[in-house]
């Protein structure tokens, strides 16, 4: 590759990662303000309890979401599960439900005095509060990340690999473990890391479930003491946990990757036999808990509540605003992710990997920290842009860059560089190769990433509240505005609209990939290239 291509690519990647690291810089500025107290805060027994609680929650949620997500992906893509096409879409849909709505639904259903107790079922009670409830709600809210990335990878998986292993005498299980799983690992890992980071940064669920996690402590520092320094120190502890998560992930991923374009030919589905209906029952249960229950509770609120419902044209404006910022954020995040992912995939080095990891650093921070970091920098350095959509969209990019990256990375990992080399060998320049070969081939991955960012932005609240242009309402701020005064009926209307508007995006993503197995042009037979 020529130097011509390297310099702008690297410069773009560095700029993106610098943006993503702004919150870290901000936290360092603030934590230095805490001076000698910083260590006291970190070493307090209370902080250690919070760290232990948080790590426990991250481990359980990541494990559960990975099992549910990867399991559903396998069931819907590779087996004769009854209604698998329907499940393929339904299983992805909980992605559109804000996690705090799932938590609220659990409390309304099985909390003290909830529907289960009213109906005399034995399930209801206080158990829902604390670790169990938080882990359950977060697992159901986040498994779609693993599900989406794994099912996309499964669809593109060349069945010839598994068949070869089988014909060489491996059992089905052994073939799965030794052949299929290693190929799927990057996608499952990318999903799992999104789940882990989401859990680290989540505030809504842990606060509703009254579970003492680090984010709750960060919020309480702001709320109680108005002192930004201790909050910053706790924020840095969260960054440290992020680094830990990334280290674990890279250790797991280091076992080798396989670049191999997918086969388009249909595969005979695995016959589940007697397990068909129990499997369908499990899939139904997941969808019922993570999708039907929350939507049902919202509808129930609209009917039961007496608060004044919002005016239709106000909600319409908010909906349009939500769609606008979500589309802007998705576009910007993908454009930002591309150079980072390209650099890491095509020029692997310690340096480019570090850069790629840097993009994840801010992702475990609660939204309010990212928002305040952007307030800090943009009000000082970009005064004319402060409180315009430009800064708001930048905040979304910082928050959700890893989601865009996960799509781009997974796609690039499967893209055979020989195709790019061929293009260059046939005389196309680096830019032409990028535009005509690379981008079209990784477009499905980029789109998947864009979709994740789009959906996350629709739900985002803390950064939106502080950075939006004044008077700019979105569906998420409407929900907040109503719940702040416990007007649940009024909150349920924008929340339902948020779900209804996001659903087609997921449907589109899933149905599209269902029809098109993968990039046709990438099916060039040949040996897998040596891992550089």
């Amino acid at each position: 590759m020529s130097a011509l291509r390297r310099a702008p690519l690297a410069a773009a990647a560095v700029a993106v990662v610098a943006l993503a690291c702004l919150p870290l810089a901000y936290l360092l500025v603030r934590a230095l303000g805490a001076g000698g107290d910083a260590w006291d805060i970190v070493l307090r027994p209370r902080t250690l309890t919070l760290v232990a609680n948080t790590l426990g929650l991250v481990a359980v949620v990541t494990g559960a979401a990975t099992v549910i997500g990867a399991g559903l992906a396998w069931l819907t893509v590779r087996t004769d599960l009854p209604g698998r096409r329907v499940f393929a879409v339904l299983a992805a849909l909980p992605l559109v439900v804000p996690s705090y709505v799932i938590a609220l639904a659990f409390i309304a259903a099985v909390g003290p005095g909830g529907a289960a107790q009213e109906l005399g079922l034995g399930l209801g009670g206080r158990w829902v509060f604390g670790f169990d409830g938080a882990a359950l709600a977060l697992s159901l809210a986040t498994y779609p990340y693993v599900y989406l990335l794994t099912s996309a990878a499964l669809r593109r998986l060349d069945p010839a690999l598994e068949e070869a292993a089988r014909s060489l005498g491996r059992s089905r299980l052994a073939a799965f473990r030794e052949v299929t799983l290693p190929v799927l690992a990057p996608s499952i890992g990318a999903g799992a890391i999104l789940v882990a980071l989401y859990t680290l940064s989540d505030f809504g669920v842990v606060s509703l479930m009254r579970f003492d996690a680090l984010t709750r402590a960060v919020y309480r520092q702001y709320q109680a003491a108005f002192d930004r320094d201790p909050a910053a120190v706790l924020g840095l502890v969260l960054v440290a946990l992020t680094v830990l998560v990334l280290l674990v992930e890279s250790r797991l991923q280091a076992r080798g990757r396989l670049r191999r374009p997918g086969g388009e030919r249909p595969v005979a589905p695995v016959a589940l036999g007697a397990w068909r209906w129990p499997a369908a029952g499990l899939a139904t249960a997941v969808v019922a808990l993570s999708l039907v229950l929350p939507v049902g509770v919202l509808v129930w609120w609209v009917q039961r509540g007496r608060s004044r419902l919002p005016a239709l044209d106000d909600v319409a404006v908010s909906a349009a605003n939500s769609l606008l910022v979500a589309a802007l954020a998705a576009t910007a995040a993908v454009l930002a992710a591309l150079p980072v992912a390209l650099l890491a995939a095509r020029r692997p080095s310690r340096w480019s990997r570090l850069l790629q990891r840097g993009a994840y650093v801010s992702n475990a921070l609660p939204g309010v920290v990212i928002a305040l970091a952007l307030v800090f920098f943009s009000s000082r350095l970009l005064t004319p842009l402060y409180q315009t959509l430009a800064v708001l969209v930048s905040a979304y990019v910082v928050r959700f860059l890893p989601q865009a990256l996960s799509g781009a990375q997974a796609a690039l990992a499967r893209l055979d560089p020989q195709l790019e080399q061929a293009s260059r060998g046939l005389g196309a320049g680096p830019w032409r190769t990028l535009a005509r070969v690379t981008v079209p081939l990784v477009a499905p991955g980029l789109l998947a990433g864009a979709t994740l960012v789009f959906l996350s932005t629709m739900k985002e609240l803390p950064a939106t509240l502080l950075l939006r242009p004044i008077g700019f309402e979105t569906l998420a701020t409407d929900v907040w505005n109503a719940t702040a005064v416990s007007s649940y009926a009024a909150a349920a209307v924008p929340a339902l609209l948020l779900i209804v508007l996001s659903a087609p995006v997921v449907w589109f993503l899933q149905v599209r990939s269902e029809v098109r197995g993968g990039p046709v042009a990438a099916q060039v037979p040949g040996e897998p290239p040596p891992v550089p």
């Binding site: 209370r46 909390g111 003290p112 005095g113 909830g114 206080r126 606060s207 509703l208 009254r210 402590a217 309480r220 702001y222 709320q223 109680a224 003491a225 108005f226 002192d227 930004r228 509540g305 007496r306 608060s307 606008l324 910022v325 589309a327 802007l328 998705a330 576009t331 910007a332 309010v368 305040l372 307030v375 009000s379 000082r380 004319p384 402060y386 315009t388 959509l389 430009a390 969209v393 079209p440 477009a443 499905p444 789109l447 864009a450 803390p462 509240l465 502080l466 242009p469 004044i470 008077g471 700019f472 701020t477 505005n481 702040a484 005064v485 416990s486 007007s487 649940y488 009926a489 009024a490």
Partner: protein
């Protein structure tokens, strides 16, 4: 198809960028920027009324009081805000260095205990600390009239309150100023022995009473007003007011201050004056169920008059200095945040 979709994204992106540029310019006429920690559902109409009456254009950023205080801190001298309208006195205290002194004639409308001793912010409406209780499991006569009596073992497992809430912390600070640290610490320890349910905020506390998790909760009085609007008057919770002078009967305020850096101080003062006018004060009594703080405006219907429930004789402005040590005490007792 793929290209079509990518093109679609880009088009939407370009449209958004244009919209962003369009929203950038604004006329510099009498425009006031208000950071409001009070929800739009509570005060939106009142601010609209001011807009109509004064001809001043009001742009409001609604968010959480504490986060807005942090935002004002980060913005420093470049803050676009002219006025900070806060849910509680603590958030105003946190940014008091960034606020300008208010004119005497405005401050004098409100009792000295409900404003900053140095005149940088003033309370606009009051909310009393109360004991909310379940009307299904308790009668008013079952309840003591002092917060100190809830340490009785008969309340074991029946109490709930929100330690992260600013009003709860202000109440503990007030108790310390009133009866001293030693007695406050003992009260906290004794309450802890009664296995209280620790909640996140006032609304969660009221709901825990309604759904049977607890029987009594230490909260502000006016959340009941909101919950009744949502659930109807048969919401099975009501307020018990403690006796005059009890720390548990402290009156907190929502208040307002003008930023030092404001270029619209005159219009900002007009807004403060409007909030303290009879019209503004009546709005709080009638629409949000809060206590008016200006003399001569009656309390909300069905509530005891403000003069009958004043808590300990302390100024709210003095509570801010106690906050840090109060949080430390709560932490040490094991009721920390």
């Amino acid at each position: 198809m793929k290209r079509f979709v990518l093109l679609l994204w880009l088009l939407v992106g370009a449209a958004g960028a244009l919209a962003a540029c369009g929203s950038g310019d604004e006329e510099e006429s009498r425009t006031l920027t208000v950071y409001s920690g009070r929800a739009e559902r509570l005060v939106g109409e009142l601010l609209e009324e001011f807009k109509r009456e004064s001809g001043v254009d009001v742009r409001v950023r609604y968010a959480d009081s504490a986060e807005l205080a942090a935002t004002i801190g980060e913005e420093g001298d470049r803050s676009p805000a002219d006025v900070f309208f806060s849910q509680d006195a603590g958030a105003l205290g946190a940014v008091e260095d960034r606020l300008q002194p208010l004119p005497e004639e405005l401050l004098d409308k409100v009792d000295a205990r409900y404003r900053d001793p140095q005149g940088r912010w003033v309370g606009t409406s009051g909310r009393a600390r109360v004991v909310a209780y379940s009307t299904e499991r308790l009668k008013e006569s079952d309840l003591p009239d002092s917060i100190f009596d809830f340490t009785d073992p008969k309340w074991k497992g029946r109490i709930g309150f929100p330690p992260p809430n600013a009003s709860f912390q202000a109440f503990v600070s007030a108790m310390r100023l009133d009866v001293g640290d030693e007695r406050t610490r003992r009260w906290l320890e004794d309450i802890k022995k009664n296995d209280p349910v620790l909640l996140e905020n006032n609304i969660q506390t009221e709901e825990a009473i309604a759904n049977g998790e607890i029987d009594v909760g230490f909260v502000n009085h006016y959340y009941l007003h909101e919950l009744r609007q949502e659930h109807g008057d048969d919401f099975p919770v009501t307020n018990h007011f403690l006796r005059k002078g009890d720390p548990g009967a402290l009156v907190n305020v929502a208040g307002v201050g003008i930023l030092r850096t404001s270029k619209r101080s005159e219009e900002a003062r007009e807004l403060v004056e409007f909030l303290l006018s009879e019209r503004g004060q009546r709005y709080f009594a009638e629409q949000t169920g809060e206590y008016p703080l200006v003399k001569g405006v009656p309390a909300p219907e069905g509530l005891p008059p403000l003069s009958s429930l004043q808590g300990p004789d302390i100024s709210l402005g003095a509570l801010g200095a106690k906050l840090e040590s109060t949080l430390k005490m709560l932490d040490e007792v094991g009721l920390g945040t």
